[in-house]
């Protein structure tokens, strides 16, 4: 444990880095999937190819992407941009399906009512479609976040920040403590982020929590 005390500054730094590397792609992925998903619901022939493409991209091995991307992007091999781009690609490939499913979960009569009472398209999408799609989108967001947190550790193999560095340190020095600390902290971080997302979702969708419809005899 004294090792943790001695290295607390380093661990905090790595925590910050790990979070940053995992969450930025999550946010970027969401920002890209939302308009893409919307377009796919407008032009429904686009939906299946997009989801299929997402499946293919997601199956690419991460370590390969981390190494190939610098060649494509012209970045340094050690640049965190590679990780961010790679994880954003994974995020989009997962989220696209949830965004499409989420937007499709908006009941037809609700859409019809929204148009009929005089919502313009943009306003309708932002204030009716999207809020109703939140539960389905958040399911994807949680998977992406946990997956990103674990994949950031892989980045350490090629020498980019986060708790993964603890693993590399541990292996190099044949010393178990940093590895254990790294595993525990990654898990804890994933758990905390997941709980935070669940909390955020509950905050955003108070209406989805009304469990047993309280139907009164009086009408």
């Amino acid at each position: 444990m004294s090792w943790v005390g001695d290295n607390s500054a380093l661990i905090w730094e790595q925590l910050r880095e790990h979070l940053y590397l995992a969450l930025i792609p999550m946010v970027l992925g969401l920002l890209i999937s939302l308009p893409l998903g919307y377009v796919a619901t407008r032009f429904s022939w686009l939906a299946n190819p997009l989801v299929a493409l997402g499946g293919v991209l997601y199956s690419l091995p991460s370590i390969a992407l981390f190494i190939v991307l610098p060649a494509i992007l012209g970045t340094q091999i050690l640049s965190p941009v590679n990780i961010i781009v790679a994880l954003t690609i994974y995020a989009v490939s997962l989220l696209i399906r949830n965004v499409i499913d989420g937007l499709r979960s908006v009941p037809e009569e609700v859409l019809q009512a929204a148009v009929s009472v005089g919502y313009g398209t943009l306003r309708r999408v932002l204030t009716v479609d999207l809020p109703i799609a939140i539960p389905v989108i958040f399911t994807g967001l949680r998977v992406v976040t946990v997956a990103n947190i674990s994949m950031v550790s892989v980045g350490a193999i090629i020498g980019i920040g986060g708790f993964g560095e603890l693993f590399t340190t541990g292996f190099q020095q044949d010393f178990l403590t940093p590895i254990v600390v790294g595993v525990v902290l990654s898990l804890a971080l994933a758990l905390v982020c997941d709980i935070a997302l669940v909390g955020l979702q509950r905050l955003l969708t108070p209406w989805a929590r009304v469990i047993s419809p309280l139907k009164e005899a009086t009408t």
């Binding site: 009941p107 009569e109 609700v110 019809q112 009512a113 929204a114 148009v115 009929s116 009472v117 005089g118 919502y119 313009g120 306003r123 009716v128 809020p131 109703i132 969708t205 108070p206 209406w207 989805a208 009304v210 419809p213 309280l214 139907k215 009164e216 009086t218 009408t219």
Partner: protein, 333 residues
């Protein structure tokens, strides 16, 4: 007045949903589009707020072509109610009702207070205002749907089978309340239903459509019952149309006879029962008032143990009775 002139709707797949419809929908009244499923009622209705664009012809509101302003502006001035209400599940009841006022840019407080007034007006318990739609019964949701449609005080309200999905008792209540509400607000209401009884009950005018989107007959309900233009309309109206037509004849002219001694009355003059041969009291049966229909009078006669229907005044006091003979006179054309 909403005027359809030679309006046709052909969907991209070639289906002609509405064929050359010409129709004048009078202001401040309820006009019902009725017809079998798939005859183009919804299409006709939704062409009015341009959620479906017609293929040809013109539709105008008070002389102004509905294409003269943009569709979104047009829709904010037209209330719209659908089956299952189509409430926004993520908004509370009061937020649902305040939707159009907010779209129109009213300040929050005014939008909210207007919404509360309307909820009260449609008979919703205000305790439910902060609930979400999923926490309401079907009938309650439908009331909220009507309140939402009326929130910005539109001149027109479009209703597409609004009461089809609720049980018969609640449907009946909602129909009565719509009629009561309409007496106060006098909107131009276009109401779609596949139920001819609902059409006859609610409509000041009824447009019967046949499959293929053709207008079969456009008339007040009494006229429709008395003179269906063809076999299709007659079949669609169904059985008992002669009997149902009695709803539209008042009992005003009916010849009454004096209240006989066998009708026991309470101190205030209200009927208590008929005394039969063995001196026992039998129930009065249904009663009717002068302003009611012949149907009510006939019902009073049919439910009376002695074949005499009791007519009462506003206060419930028996003022006379009607016998078969007097009814038969009234039925004679």
């Amino acid at each position: 007045m909403i005027e359809f002139e030679d309006v046709t709707k052909r969907y991209p797949d070639g289906t002609v949903a509405v064929d050359n419809l010409s129709l004048r929908i009078p202001s401040h009244q309820i006009t019902v589009f009725v017809g079998p499923s798939g005859c183009g009622k919804t299409t006709s209705l939704r062409m009015i707020n341009r959620t479906i664009e017609r293929t040809s012809g013109t539709i105008s509101i008070d002389g102004e072509d509905i294409n003269s302003k943009d569709a979104v502006t047009l829709r904010r001035g037209i209330g719209y109610v659908i089956q299952n209400a189509g409430l926004f599940p993520h908004k509370t009841v009061v937020e649902n009702v305040a939707t159009v006022p907010k779209l129109l840019g009213w300040d929050k407080r005014k939008a909210r207070s207007t919404a509360m007034e309307l909820l009260e007006r449609v008979g919703l318990d205000l305790k439910l205002a902060e609930r979400y739609p999923a926490q309401l019964s079907g009938g309650q949701q439908q009331r909220v749907g009507v309140a939402r449609a009326l929130a910005a005080d539109p001149i027109i309200m479009l209703m597409d089978e609004p009461f089809s999905a609720v049980d018969p008792i609640v449907r009946n209540q909602l129909q009565e309340e719509l009629l009561r509400l309409q007496r106060d607000i006098g909107k131009t209401i276009v109401f779609v239903t596949h139920d001819i009884d609902e059409a006859i009950k609610l409509g000041d005018h009824v447009a019967v459509l046949r499959v293929g989107g053709k207008l079969a007959q456009f008339a007040p309900p009494a006229e429709l019952l008395a003179n269906p233009v063809d076999e299709f309309v007659e079949n669609f109206i169904g059985k008992d149309r002669g009997y149902r037509a009695l709803t539209f004849v008042t009992a005003e002219e009916l010849r009454l006879t004096d209240v006989p001694a066998e009708l026991t009355r309470a101190e205030d003059g209200s009927p208590k029962g008929w005394v039969n041969g063995s001196g026992e009291l039998e129930p009065v049966g249904a009663t009717f008032q002068r302003g009611d229909s012949l149907r009510a009078a006939l019902d009073a006669v049919l439910t009376s143990p002695v074949g005499k229907g009791v007519c009462v005044d506003e206060s419930g006091k028996a003022v006379g009775v009607v016998e078969y003979a007097a009814l038969a006179e009234a039925f004679r054309p």
